[in-house]
């Protein structure tokens, strides 16, 4: 009795196994449903991007013309005038910020990659310092921009009495982009094959000669990628400059004068005036700049890979 029941059960199980067609069909159905869902998700992402960029371009392009680009904002509640001074201020700020952040960041990355693992780091204090510095970079990379703004406001604007100025904004901005530059430069340096260094050292060059003559030239496109990335960061950043750069629409005459960047101008137009069309025009220009920068990053990283793989 018992035996036959198990046999029956076994038969049923076997029949079910043989009759696997509905199971496969079922699984295929579930799979195609799930994949459709994923494709919908993916295309929603793209649709959102196209919607935003398309809307800004369609509404923004009519207000862009020569006059818009070459006159300064007139101030007031109507948002009259163009954006010339904001473009120039943005360029100043980018150059000034990078002039501070790029040497610091590239130097730090060189130390992390080329020197930190040398035999000399048997010295305990230096090993501890390097570890702390790496943690510092990680922390900085996660700090939101408004905290950098608060910091810049406390130390540069109030404590050092630099006021709302290009100088305060540039120094605070440099803190913001420093981790970006350090990380990308580190990656670029690590990608340079060890044999390059060995070849140079074997010819009798010193460490520094190896770094400047061999490693850095090979890593230049990667470093450029980092710099372009940070240019994008500075251009699109608002919060940090809102509390350190002030918001004057006049052209900065020197490093101690206030100004406003393109992104800040968008914010001020949108919140303080009725000129939404001009805000859209400025946004369109911002997006165009970002697209160009992204293209530059893609080109330079492609060039970098081609070069390191031996042309």
């Amino acid at each position: 009795m018992n035996n036959s029941l198990t046999k029956q059960q076994r038969m049923a199980a076997a029949r079910e196994k043989i009759n696997h067609k509905p199971n496969i069909r079922n699984r295929r159905l579930v799979q195609s449903l799930a994949f459709t869902f994923l494709w919908i998700m993916g295309f929603t992402t793209i649709a959102v991007l196209i919607w935003i960029v398309g809307y800004v371009f369609v509404k923004g392009f009519p207000s862009i013309n020569m006059e818009f680009l070459t006159t300064r904002p007139a101030g007031g509640f109507d948002g009259e005038g163009g954006i010339s001074t904001t473009i120039v201020t943005t360029v100043y700020l980018v150059i000034f910020t990078l002039a501070i952040a790029a040497p610091l960041g590239i130097g730090a990355a060189i130390y992390f990659v080329e020197y930190a693992n040398e035999g000399q780091t048997r010295n305990k204090i230096i090993r501890w310092l390097v570890k702390t510095a790496r943690t510092g970079v990680e922390i900085l990379a996660g700090v939101p921009s408004i905290i950098f703004g608060l910091f810049g406001f406390a130390i540069f604007v109030s404590y050092l009495k630099l006021g709302f100025s290009l100088l305060s904004a540039g120094l605070s901005g440099a803190c913001l982009v420093l981790p970006v530059i350090i990380r990308t430069t580190e990656e670029a340096l690590l990608a340079v094959p060890e044999s390059y260094r060995e070849g140079s050292l074997g010819l009798g060059a010193t460490k520094w000669q190896t770094v400047t003559g061999v490693v850095l030239p090979a890593a230049i496109p990667g470093i450029v990628t980092g710099i372009v990335l940070s240019v994008g960061r500075i251009i699109s950043e608002t919060a940090i400059f809102w509390v350190t750069l002030g918001g004057s629409y006049r052209l900065p005459q020197n490093l101690l004068s206030s100004g406003r960047t393109l992104a800040l101008h968008v914010y001020m137009l949108a919140t303080e005036t009725r000129a939404f069309d001009k805000a859209m025009g400025t946004s369109a220009i911002l997006i165009i700049i970002i697209i160009i920068l992204n293209l530059a990053i893609n080109l330079s990283s492609k060039y970098f890979q081609k070069r390191l793989s031996g042309k």
């Binding site: 993916g42 992402t45 310092l129 702390t132 990379a141 608060l150 406390a154 003559g213 992204n294």
Partner: protein, 468 residues
């Protein structure tokens, strides 16, 4: 492509063997001339210092300072002259650096002048006029650059006649190394400065208002502005605003980003993947104010059309959540995709061999294997959402009350206006003073510490996965 720094520092390695060789005669005149030139500058500095000290000429700075500066600069240039006379390489490096500095300063000056004429005008300039200015400033640039440029060129060309001893080379190497350590420490220095300054500024709030009121008070009313009854500094409304908008962003944004990430990592062909990646890169690059503007102009009217009682503004938590979800999308998608790609191919192959379909493999093998990376992605998304400022100010309505449902339905709280911690800082810091200002700094400290912990947690999760 020879970058600037290799121009300056590229001491020809072959030089080591050339030191003992006979050097070509004609090239020796140029360094001698440079030595004379440096000596002349040195003398000029010394004379100026002394003349200023004895009040013969007026430099409108402190006399002693002028003398000391003059003596120091003249000594430096004298050393430079001696270096050139004995054909030392460090002299060449120094002069090249000085020349680059001069060229840069001149360029900056010309750019400042040019842009202040062309761009600062209230009237639009005609094309002809702009071209005229471009030509004028181009000529001026050439004029200014000619002397430093020619010097630079010759100095760069005759690099093989300069030499240095191994000891100098070693010393230089050592100095550079220590200098680089200094730059490496700048990041931790900035972190310490952030701590010190924000803590110091928030001290007043802790002593005057008290931690209890700051953390549990439900009213935010800086009396200094309103000028009526006593002021209250409770941060609870802002904390709630931040939490609600972040939760909303997670609910809307996470499914989208996970779907996109799985699609890109597992299903989509290479060509589609390239397009999607470019799009996501662009999405992460778009300035936050543009998102904020989009929320104000497009999303707000759409929300206003939802037929619910009391829904009048379109600004509020729902709008903020939508905008935030778009902003965290690139971060979460990228990290999730990386985590999925990091799952070894052998896992998938084993699953296929057992007869699982592609979807079963993804659902039961790949995603569980990548879960730590996915959790880290969500945490980083939350951190990004909590730190966002300007876009939220533009769409959330910025009311200082605790968000509450706008009608009988408790779910209608998503249409309520609110204010975030970050927005609170950015809106009020520019005119705040005293305890008010200090309370805002306290908000910053709170946010900083919280995000620090969150980010360390995410880093820890990701790193723990890598090593195991």
């Amino acid at each position: 492509m020879r970058p600037i720094f290799s121009l300056i520092f590229n001491r020809n390695i072959m030089k080591i063997t050339q030191n003992n060789q006979q050097k070509p005669e004609s090239k020796f005149i140029f360094p001698k001339f440079l030595a004379l030139f440096s000596l002349f500058i040195s003398a000029a500095f010394l004379t100026t210092g002394f003349l200023s000290f004895f009040s013969v000429i007026d430099l409108s700075i402190n006399k002693v300072l002028a003398l000391v500066t003059g003596i120091i600069l003249s000594t430096a240039f004298f050393l430079l002259a001696k270096g050139f006379y004995t054909l030392q390489n460090w002299a060449r490096t120094t002069l090249l650096s000085i020349l680059i500095l001069i060229i840069l300063v001149l360029l900056v000056k010309i750019i400042f002048e040019f842009s202040s004429i062309v761009f600062a005008g209230k009237q639009v300039l005609s094309i002809g006029e702009i071209l005229k200015y471009i030509g004028k400033y181009f000529l001026r640039t050439i004029l200014y650059m000619s002397i430093p440029g020619i010097l630079f060129y010759f100095l760069y060309k005759c690099d093989e006649i300069f030499s240095e001893t191994p000891r100098q080379r070693h010393l230089f190497d050592h100095t550079v190394k220590n200098f680089l350590l200094g730059t490496a420490l700048s990041s931790i220095l900035i972190v310490i400065f952030i701590f010190v300054f924000t803590f110091q500024e928030s001290e007043l709030a802790i002593s005057e208002i008290g931690l209890k009121e700051l953390l549990t008070g439900t009213i935010w009313r800086p009396g200094a502005i309103i000028g009526t009854d006593e002021s209250h500094f409770g941060l609870v409304p802002m904390v709630i605003g931040s939490i609600y908008s972040t939760i909303g962003a997670i609910i809307i944004g996470i499914p989208l980003s996970f779907g996109t990430a799985i699609l890109l990592a597992e299903i989509a062909p290479q060509s589609i993947r390239t397009i999607f990646r470019t799009a996501i890169e662009l999405l992460s690059g778009i300035p936050s104010v543009v998102y904020g503007l989009f929320g104000m102009v497009v999303i707000a009217p759409l929300i206003r059309m939802i037929p619910i009682k009391g829904n009048t503004t379109g600004f509020g938590i729902l709008n903020a959540s939508i905008i935030l979800s778009i902003m965290i999308l690139p971060t979460v998608t990228n990290i999730t995709e990386d985590a999925i790609r990091a799952v070894p191919q052998s896992y998938r192959e084993a699953s296929y061999a057992l007869g699982a379909t592609h979807w079963q493999t993804i659902k039961d093998v790949v995603l569980p294997a990548a879960n730590s990376g996915i959790i880290a992605a969500v945490i980083l998304g939350i951190s990004r959402a909590l730190g966002e400022t300007m876009a939220l100010i533009m769409v959330i309505g910025n009311s200082i009350a605790i968000p509450s449902p706008i009608n009988d339905n408790p779910l209608s709280i998503i249409f309520s206006t609110a204010r975030t911690l970050t927005g609170n800082i950015a809106v009020e810091i520019n005119y705040a003073s005293g305890a008010h200002r200090s309370a805002l700094f306290f908000t910053g400290v709170l946010l900083f510490l919280f995000l620090l912990i969150i980010n360390r947690l995410a880093n820890h999760i990701m790193k723990g996965k890598k090593t195991s």
